[in-house]
């Protein structure tokens, strides 16, 4: 029974996607129900599966369709607490996104294909979550890659959307190549593609190339979960519609990488090198992305960089061996990041711009989008890790794990030897996490202040009209079109606000969530939570102080530069502002290191093809042509010419015969 339900969970959105694609043109009225209803049914089924499965159990089922050579590939299902919980998260977020999209993309002519792709995306992620076989998992993994390509490029009329979709696809594929080889290494060692078998082999010590396999897998994880150095696609992927960003960032694509590492955590725990690489990668990612987020002007890019940073947290937790903390943060982050994106979508929908600077000039935003204002506040508080929001508890679980690892007693939950986690790695993750917490609080505060608290200039006191013509036009054009916050947008916001606010509280019960996972306590430890809270408050306070000073300066210089915004980022970042705004030049570096050489090589190849190879081809055609022309000259109709040639030939033959004798 549970098995049937579990199979239906990914199957329903998949069938919904097919039906939506088929019905899109012929029955436009069917598209919305076909998009929303299967996903909603999946939510119910996923919850049912989770409840039926209960805590501490797991369900494995496998069937083999056909023999597939040496190592069998089976259609297998592996349900445990992790999968069940994550499936609930994925379906809930997907359902919220689908409902939200019906309003957000109301006018979009390509809504049917969009909705179908979102459903397919959801189905693929659910396949990844439920699959018990690495090859089947890879199928879902790659389908997600393709769907993200299409969804990011939804506005393919815009060149940046096109290039962003291609970039997302290429970068994630770049990671998928080592990922595939990692799977092969694992399967070759364990003799099976089944995750259970691999984990069992890891426990039994049969994996002889754990380091190699783990490092190869990390390539794919870095690509999908946007970890340094393959994180560059994620900020650019903001060119897609905002609900897609919510879907990609909160629950599906980026979560897949973390989820995979969590599933294969026993393999990673066998290799200190892989853990070190993962940890360093995570720390670099989270600190760098937090700095970048602080400098961005585009609201969605701020959120994108924050996603990169939060994923860094999860990777850090995995690096210190505590997958429970990572999954806890994955779930809370899924909730509040989806909330943040959807709220940002409402704001952007209302002001028709992504730019924080432009929003900072717009008065009355709080009044126009009160729900978005409130829910975004909740989401940002959760992101910043302020107690008692959900992000605080999950982040603290990670910091606690890092602290334990720093003391040399990593919380591996019995998945592997704790001694493989070096204590300096714990220190690194701890310090990096605290630094990131500071920065995260700062940029969350900056985002909130800039977006919703415009500078009240003296001359505007009497005229609360938007100061720029563009914004005024946007306001004027937007008002008659309908409510800024339709119910289909508001509902998901508040639905997601509840877990963002309260989900962390389950961490207070020592056995509530861990019973689903590996049993590692997720309650805040006495050492880290005061520090983390102080750090977060410090970050928020610093941002607020800087914002005050910036506001004062803007007011003082209002005559000189009426369009200036009170951005605290220059004060906080100082000389780092420029590099941080451009993502520390990593894109430029890639451009120099890879894109240009590849383009140069392509030009060389095209040159060789056009000028050299084609010359041969042309020569092959031209030479017979020339010879033919020469021969044609002989056919001049002059009988005497023919006779001359004939006689000359006879003479030559005679000479040859005479000489030969």
């Amino acid at each position: 029974m549970t098995l049937t339900l579990a199979i239906l969970v990914p199957l329903l959105p998949f069938l919904g996607a097919l039906a939506g694609l088929a019905a899109g043109r012929r029955a436009p009225g069917m598209v919305r129900p076909l998009a929303v209803l299967p996903t909603l049914a999946s939510v119910v089924l996923a919850v049912l599966v989770a409840v039926k499965l209960g805590t501490g159990h797991h369900l494995d089922a496998a069937t083999q369709l056909t023999p597939t050579g040496g190592t069998p590939i089976s259609l297998s299902l592996h349900l445990d607490g992790i999968a069940a919980l994550l499936a609930v998260l994925v379906t809930v977020v997907a359902a919220c996104v689908q409902i939200y999209s019906t309003a957000y993309l109301r006018e979009d002519p390509r809504y049917p294909s969009y909705a179908a792709l979102v459903s397919l995306f959801t189905a693929a992620m659910l396949l990844v979550v439920y699959s018990g076989d690495l090859i089947v998992l890879l199928v879902g993994w790659e389908v997600m890659g393709v769907c993200s390509y299409f969804l990011v490029g939804h506005h393919w009329e815009r060149s940046e959307a096109r290039s962003a979709s291609i970039k997302a696809f290429l970068v994630t594929k770049l990671g998928d190549v080592p990922f595939l080889f990692g799977i092969f290494v694992l399967a070759a060692d364990a003799g099976t593609f089944r995750i259970n078998g691999i984990v069992g082999a890891a426990a039994g010590g049969h994996l002889h190339h754990a380091t190699l396999a783990a490092l190869l897998l990390l390539g794919g994880v870095a690509g999908k979960s946007a970890q340094f150095p393959l994180h560059t696609w994620l900020p650019d992927a903001m060119a897609g519609p905002t609900p897609v960003s919510a879907l990609i960032h909160a629950a599906t694509m980026v979560a897949a990488g973390v989820y995979l590492v969590a599933r294969l955590e026993p393999v990673f725990l066998l290799s200190t090198a892989a853990l070190v690489v993962l940890g360093v990668m995570a720390v670099v990612t989270m600190v760098g992305s937090a700095l970048c987020a602080l400098a961005q002007d585009d609201m969605k890019r701020v959120l994108a960089y924050s996603t990169v940073g939060q994923l860094g947290y999860m990777a850090g937790a995995l690096a210190v061996g505590d997958r429970d903390a990572a999954l806890f943060h994955l779930i809370t982050h899924g909730a509040f990041k989806a909330l943040l994106f959807l709220a940002a979508g409402v704001v952007i929908h209302a002001v028709h711009t992504n730019s924080l600077t432009a929003m900072g000039r717009m008065d009355g935003l709080r009044r126009r989008v009160p729900d978005a204002y409130a829910t975004m506040g909740i989401g940002l508080a959760a992101l910043a890790g302020l107690p008692p929001f959900s992000g605080f508890f999950s982040k603290d679980a990670i910091l606690t794990a890092a602290e334990h690892a720093a003391r040399g007693e990593a919380l591996t939950g019995g998945l592997g030897p704790a001694g493989n986690v070096p204590s300096w790695l714990g220190w690194t993750v701890l310090v990096g996490g605290l630094l990131t917490a500071l920065l995260t609080a700062a940029y969350a505060t900056r985002l909130w202040l800039l977006a919703f608290f415009p500078v009240r200039r003296a001359e505007q006191a009497g005229a609360p009209v938007a100061p720029t013509a563009a914004a005024a036009a946007a306001l004027a054009s937007d008002e008659p079109a309908g409510p800024v916050e339709p119910a289909a947008m508001k509902g998901p916001l508040w639905l997601l606000a509840v877990p963002s606010l309260a989900l962390g509280l389950v961490g207070l019960w020592p056995h509530a969530l861990p019973a689903w996972l590996d049993g590692v306590a997720l309650t805040p430890s006495g050492v880290t939570w005061p520090i983390a809270t102080v750090v977060a408050l410090l970050g928020a306070g610093l941002a607020w102080l800087a914002w005050r000073r910036a506001t004062a300066r803007v007011l003082a210089e209002a005559e000189a530069d009426p369009a200036a915004a009170a951005d605290p980022a220059p004060l906080l970042l100082g000389p780092l502002l420029g590099p941080a705004r451009t993502g520390f030049g990593i894109d430029t570096l890639y451009d120099r290191a890879f894109v240009r050489p590849v383009l140069g090589a392509a030009r060389l190849v095209s040159f060789l093809d056009r000028e050299v190879v084609e010359t041969y081809v042309k020569g092959a055609a031209v030479t017979p042509g020339l010879i033919g022309r020469v021969v044609r000259r002989a056919q001049n109709g002059n009988i005497q010419g023919y006779l001359s040639a004939l006689a000359a030939g006879v003479v030559v033959l005679a000479v040859i015969v005479a000489v030969a004798q």
């Binding site: 044609r632 109709g637 005497q640």
Partner: protein, 123 residues
Amino acid sequence: MHLVFPAVLAALLFCVGLYGVLARRNAVLMLMSVELMLNAVNLNLVAFDVWLRDALHAGQALTLFTITVAAAEIGLGLAIVLLIFRHRGTADIDRVGRLADGDETAGDGGEQQARDDEKKAVR
């Protein structure tokens, strides 16, 4: 008498005839050159017949045949030349270029000339 004398004379005469055939523009002159070549052959036949003393006199008999054939040839040849002259208004060999490949002689008027001539003849 040395055989070399008639043989060399025949060879040179043949080559003179060959030159005439190849270089002369007028068709009648070409036919005359052909006669020269045939006579060179005849001279060879007679000389070798005299040298070999063939019981059948094959050389001289063949010479007679050749002379006869040459007479027939020049009769027919002149008839053809007359026909061409009547059609084209000329007996110049290099203006009778209808065997030419189309593109090469389109510009030099030979083809056009020929077509005009044909039209004239039809009228």
